[in-house]
Symmetry: C2
Subunit: 114 residues, 2 copies
């Protein structure tokens, strides 16, 4: 659900800056696999194939789409090494690292109730 504050008028947003902020973050994290990808990349640089292997049966098309969105939102970095065969590595940006506290709190909740 890639939607960020649609349906809210300006007055509402001005009066609810906190909710606007939450909505923005929800937008960045929207997607079935974003949480897993970020979690897998924390503190490590990973290759495309390794991410795919880690996530199981996820199709290439879907994985690439999620990675592109994360890259465009500035939370992951994509480094291409023009070798043969080609090598592409992904890692978290500083911005991406700032998402980890959210994942940690989600982990806490899930471990208590899941």
């Amino acid at each position: 659900m890639r939607v960020c504050n649609e349906g809210f008028d300006k007055a509402f947003i001005d009066e609810n800056r906190d909710m606007y902020a939450i909505s923005f973050t929800q937008y960045v994290l929207s997607g079935r696999w974003k949480y897993f990808i970020l979690w897998y990349l924390r503190g490590e640089t990973r290759r495309y194939t390794d991410i795919k292997k880690f996530l199981g049966g996820l199709s290439q098309g879907s994985l690439t789409k999620q990675l592109r969105e994360l890259e465009q939102d500035g939370v992951i970095k994509r480094d291409v090494y023009p070798e043969v065969p080609p090598r592409v590595e992904y890692s978290l940006t500083d911005k991406g690292n700032k998402l980890l506290p959210i994942l940690e709190k989600m982990e806490d909740f899930g471990k208590e109730y899941g």
Copy 2:
């Protein structure tokens, strides 16, 4: 995206309890309006109509569905007062309150980058 750990086999889950926990939390929070509803209910008991008014042009059908899911997942409580006209109030459960730290971290991120 009401999906919780589909596509992961048991071995994967056993080796990745933290991701399983995150996935569970993502499941509980999945839905366009869940974050807003929880945020609006923090520390307060609210009536159905007030929630609807707060969220803007959201249709009754959609709001009811989100509230039902939150109730079934045990994060909000629904109290019915059989008056005329009827009154229904919603509030966070203890479990629901445990979700607030996640929202706070999301607020932090959104205020820094949104």
